[in-house]
């Protein structure tokens, strides 16, 4: 159980605490090496940081500029594309109906179904629902997709003409002039999605530049892909009648590529982090190879049923990721794996649901419903995935954020599915269904939030109470055994966080902090007492809550406060103890100086030798008393030396020989009561041997083994029949003192003559 001693070795490797190593046994050597490197890195990173900061910062600034400029240029270009100033709705049969227009020439045609778009010189096309379907990525049927791409291209060409002739179902036509759509018409959704895309891209860049490695590179690949997806979603949100070239052509291949790259990167990352699983290289290669094998024919349009293939492969890769994380958690109980597994499950299941929803909606062949589902569902799913990505680097920063996010994610998933359900089943209008779903889920969110927070809070309250109790107990123990402070602190923190490992390493950590993606909490061992002159040490805890939870910065703050409280409690205890000992010292001084001097005068003036001896003994008792008061504890070896010298002097003065045998297995520290009790018992018994028994030899045998003290004092005097002795002041005093120490005393005759007094104290350290 002693963590401090187990890690006191000179080796820099971490060694697991004994009670927790069961799950580590399987992977012990590998992990420890990995960990020591991690600790090494985190402890010695500061000086490298400044050196690398220069070029990384420059790249980061360049990346940020490129990102912002790209978004601005896109917006500018989009605002310059020509457009017919009209709004269209789809009829249940898949035709377009003019819903409203800013152009007065179209006003008479509001409510009419569109029968063709053309120009005075060019043949017309019949735009149907596909013309307002923004994304080729979410069209299930291969032919529909090709048709959509063709229609968008044609519409784009037409819109670049001077005049566009719209033919309506009632045979009437209207000539309109396409105008630039202007930056204001891009809509709030466009800006929100591009903003999110930009943020995701920037976080990816920051992460990879902060510590370039394979893992962060993969993370950045996911971020960039998802940023691309979000940009496309943003552009698609502006669709009125056809997408401008070349976006309509690029939409399908780019978005498939983005999805597949993300999948491969996720699988690759799950094989690497939090732990490299066996054969991680093969897994990573397989993932990338299969994605390329699927992606190339899809993008070139060779593959049939491309949508199904893509959807299925994304789902499969997601499930592979979840499986990999579960395996990785078995190998190393890193809580990061659990959290990621949960997120993965959430993402994969919603993906499958989304796929099914889109598929069912299109199977019904009601084009308007299909369009709505295919338009709203993916947006929400991609936003959800992007926020997951954003959250990942900050998982260990705060528990609060985690809690709120998981609640929000759950609630928004519910909201989305409710929305889709209302649309699909009750055929509500989009506005109605969204409002209804929003209200329902907001109510749910408010209720669930309160409930979850209450649960969390009440549990914490209990532990706080218990912790304070423990804190003060530890403060007292630290006072008694300053060398055990680190291991006591480790025990306290173990109860609080239940980590899988908690060890003390001989390295200095400047502050309490969370490292290793929240798997590890590092804290410096505080200097609790001034007596403690040990090398700087840190406590390292890994895998909170038996590997179920990540350490957060809240935990670090809590630990900081606990350590601070402990220091305060120890300082307080020490001050109290110091005050006590000062007071004792003062009393001892006064007693000794005043009463001692008077007794001395009394002794010099004594009328008879008996009186003189009596006063002398009183004076000696007083000295023992004051000595005991002044020194709080006496090591047995020191006390024994003084006993022997004192008794030898007394006995020699009376021409009595002393036989002294002392054995002890541990040099215990005697308390004042024990020291003065034993001193006076021995002194009294020797005095008896001299004064009453007239012995010529006294043998003292003192044995301390396994906390059991046996003391026998044997004389060879003429004393007999101890049971018949009158229990005078002397022997009564001996009994009283032995009883005070929790022991027994008995007197026996020994052959050929003499008395043996046998004192047994079975548990010396139990009494004060």
């Amino acid at each position: 159980m002693d963590h401090s001693s187990s890690s006191r070795g000179t080796s820099p490797e971490l060694r697991g605490g004994a009670p927790l190593s069961s799950s580590r046994a399987r992977s012990a050597p590998h992990d420890s090496l990995l960990d020591s490197r991690l600790i090494e890195q985190t402890l010695g990173r500061v000086e490298h940081l400044a050196r690398w900061m220069g070029w990384r910062l420059r790249i980061l600034v360049v990346a940020a500029l490129v990102g912002c400029l790209g978004v601005l240029l896109l917006a500018r270009w989009m605002s310059g594309t020509p457009q017919i100033p009209a709004e269209w709705v789809t009829t249940p049969t898949g035709q377009l109906q003019l819903a409203g227009s800013a152009d007065p020439r179209l006003h008479p045609h509001v409510g009419k179904v569109l029968a063709g778009v053309g120009s005075p010189r060019q043949s017309s096309v019949l735009p149907d629902v596909l013309a307002v379907t923004p994304s080729a990525r979410w069209i299930i049927d291969d032919e529909d997709r090709l048709q959509q791409q063709g229609m968008h291209a044609q519409l784009d060409r037409l819109l670049h003409q001077q005049t566009v002739r719209l033919t309506f179902a009632d045979g009437r036509t209207a000539d309109v002039h396409p105008v630039s759509r202007g930056i204001a018409s891009l809509g709030a959704l466009f800006w929100l999605l591009t903003g999110l895309g930009l943020v995701v891209y920037m976080v990816g860049m920051i992460v990879v530049l902060a510590s370039p490695s394979m893992r962060t590179l993969l993370y950045t690949a996911m971020c960039c892909s998802q940023a691309g997806n979000l940009i496309f979603l943003a552009v698609e949100s502006t669709v009125a009648l056809g997408l401008p070239e070349p976006l309509s052509r690029l939409d399908f291949p780019c978005r498939v590529a983005f999805d597949l790259i993300t999948c491969a990167a996720v699988v690759h990352a799950a094989a690497l982090h939090p732990r490299k699983v066996p054969g991680f290289a093969a897994i990573a290669w397989a993932a990338w190879a299969s994605m390329i094998a699927l992606g190339l024919p899809t993008i070139m349009g060779v593959l049939t049923e491309a949508w199904w293939w893509t959807q299925a492969s994304v789902a499969v890769m997601g499930m592979v990721t979840v499986a990999l994380l579960a395996w990785s958690y078995r190998l190393l109980r890193h809580p990061f794996a659990i959290v990621m597994r949960r997120f993965g499950l959430m993402a994969v299941s919603t993906w499958i649901l989304l796929t099914l929803a889109v598929a069912i909606a299109s199977a019904d062949r009601v084009p308007s419903v299909q369009q709505q589902v295919a338009e709203v569902g993916p947006v929400i799913w991609y936003v959800f995935l992007a926020s997951l990505l954003l959250l990942m680097p900050f998982l260990s920063k705060s528990q609060q954020v985690m809690r709120e996010f998981s609640l929000l994610a759950a609630i928004s998933t519910v909201a989305t599915s409710l929305d889709l359900l209302f649309v699909a089943v009750f055929s509500f209008g989009q506005f109605t269904s969204v409002t209804l779903a929003l209200f329902l889920s907001l109510g749910l969110y408010a209720g669930a939030r309160e409930w979850v927070l209450n649960r969390v809070r009440s549990r914490n309250m209990l532990t706080t109470e218990r912790m304070f109790e423990k804190l003060y107990r530890i403060a007292r123990e630290v006072e008694a055994h300053p060398d055990r402070a680190p291991s006591l602190l480790v025990h306290l923190l173990q109860e609080l966080f239940e980590p899988l490992e908690a060890v003390v390493v001989e390295k200095r950590s400047p502050t309490v902090r969370v490292v290793g993606d929240g798997s590890t909490l590092l804290l410096p061992v505080p200097a609790l007492t001034d007596k403690q002159v040990s090398a700087p040490a840190s406590i390292v805890m890994r895998f909170a809550n038996r590997g179920q939870r990540l350490f957060t910065s809240d935990d670090a703050r809590l630990t900081d406060r606990i350590v601070e409280q402990l220091c305060r409690a120890v300082a307080f205890d020490r001050a109290v103890e110091q005050g006590r000992s000062e007071e004792r010292l003062r009393i001892a001084q006064d007693l000794h100086d005043d009463i001692g001097a008077r007794l001395l005068t009394l002794m010099y003036k004594a009328q008879s030798p008996e009186m003189e001896d009596y006063v002398r003994h009183t004076l000696q008792d007083l000295k023992t008393l004051t000595r005991g008061l002044a020194a709080p504890n006496h090591p047995l070896s020191h006390a024994a030396g003084e006993w022997k010298a004192d008794l030898t002097q007394r006995l020699n003065a009376a021409q009595v020989h002393l036989g002294w045998h002392l054995t002890f297995d541990r040099d215990v520290s005697l308390t004042v009561v024990q020291w003065s009790g034993l001193t006076r018992v021995m002194r009294e018994l020797c005095t008896n041997a001299i004064a009453h028994a007239g012995a010529t030899r006294v043998d003292i045998d003192f044995q301390l083994a396994a906390d059991r003290l046996e003391l026998s004092i044997t004389d060879n005097g003429q004393g007999r029949n101890p049971q018949a002795w009158a229990h005078g002041l002397g022997l009564g005093g001996v009994r009283k003192r032995v009883k005070q120490l929790g022991g027994e005393v008995e007197w026996r005759e020994v052959e050929p003559h003499g008395i043996r007094c046998h004192v047994v104290i079975p548990h010396l350290s139990e009494r004060p």
Partner: protein, 250 residues
């Protein structure tokens, strides 16, 4: 020629008792000077300017000093008399090392415990004068740690010339003296034999037992003890000189 003895003791009863002890201990003619406080003791000793006072018929041969005096601590006097050629003995009621050890460091040649019996005191006094100073286990232990750490680092002259002396209890405070010395000199080190003797003494063995245990003669053990005393005194004297020159006294 009579031997001059100075007894510094405030309690008149104790003073007359000590006078009896001194007269009983020596067969020579004895002239006892009594002083009740530090001031009169200083008057009796006379001015202490010379580098080293020559032992003449006029100087005291034996000085008994009580530690607790009305106008200060006996150790102040001992410090002033560091180079005075007399046998200086501390008479006290304190038998613990916290009080006795600093007194020995101040140059006392031995100590007498005032509550001891008359015969015991006579014997002890004779032994000290003969060069067999007492050494209790506690003081032996203190000596061991003192020499192990080096006198310079232990505050060898705890509270030398300090007002803290007057408080009477401030001797535990071992103030490190920054003497700026490197390796300990010869008189600051114990020989292995001396360490061994001290170790046995600290465990409560008598000189006779130690002689048996070490397989050497009784007086050899006593020589070691004397040598240890001398080392303690010499080192404290050297430090006193350094301190004195620092304070511009010499």
């Amino acid at each position: 020629m009579a031997i001059k003895v100075l007894i510094v003791e405030d309690n008149p009863v104790a003073r007359s008792f000590l006078c009896r002890v001194v007269r009983e201990s020596f067969s020579d003619a004895i002239v006892i000077t009594e002083a009740g406080d530090l001031e009169s003791a200083r008057r009796h000793v006379g001015p202490l300017h010379a580098e080293r006072i020559e032992a003449t018929a006029d100087t005291f041969k034996l000085i008994l000093v009580d530690l607790e005096l009305p106008d200060g601590n006996g150790m102040e006097l001992l410090t002033e008399l560091v180079r005075y050629p007399a046998t200086k003995i501390v008479t006290t009621l304190y038998s613990d090392d916290d009080h006795l050890f600093p007194a020995l460091q101040c140059g006392a040649d031995g100590y007498l415990l005032k509550e001891d019996r008359f015969e015991v005191l006579v014997e002890e006094l004779q032994k000290i004068v003969r060069g067999q100073p007492p050494l209790s286990p506690a003081i032996a232990r203190r000596l061991l740690s003192h020499f192990r750490q080096g006198p310079g680092g232990m505050g060898a002259l705890a509270g030398l010339g300090e007002p803290a002396l007057a408080s009477g209890s401030g001797f535990q405070s071992s103030r490190p003296l920054p003497l700026g010395r490197g390796a300990p000199l010869d008189h600051e080190r114990l020989t292995p034999r001396e360490s061994e003797v001290l170790t046995y003494l600290s465990k409560g063995f008598t000189i006779k037992e130690i002689a048996n245990l070490m397989g050497i003669k009784w007086f050899t053990v006593n020589d070691h003890i004397k040598s240890i005393y001398k080392k303690l005194n010499v080192s404290s004297r050297a430090e006193a000189a350094v301190l004195a020159s620092k304070h511009g006294l010499v």
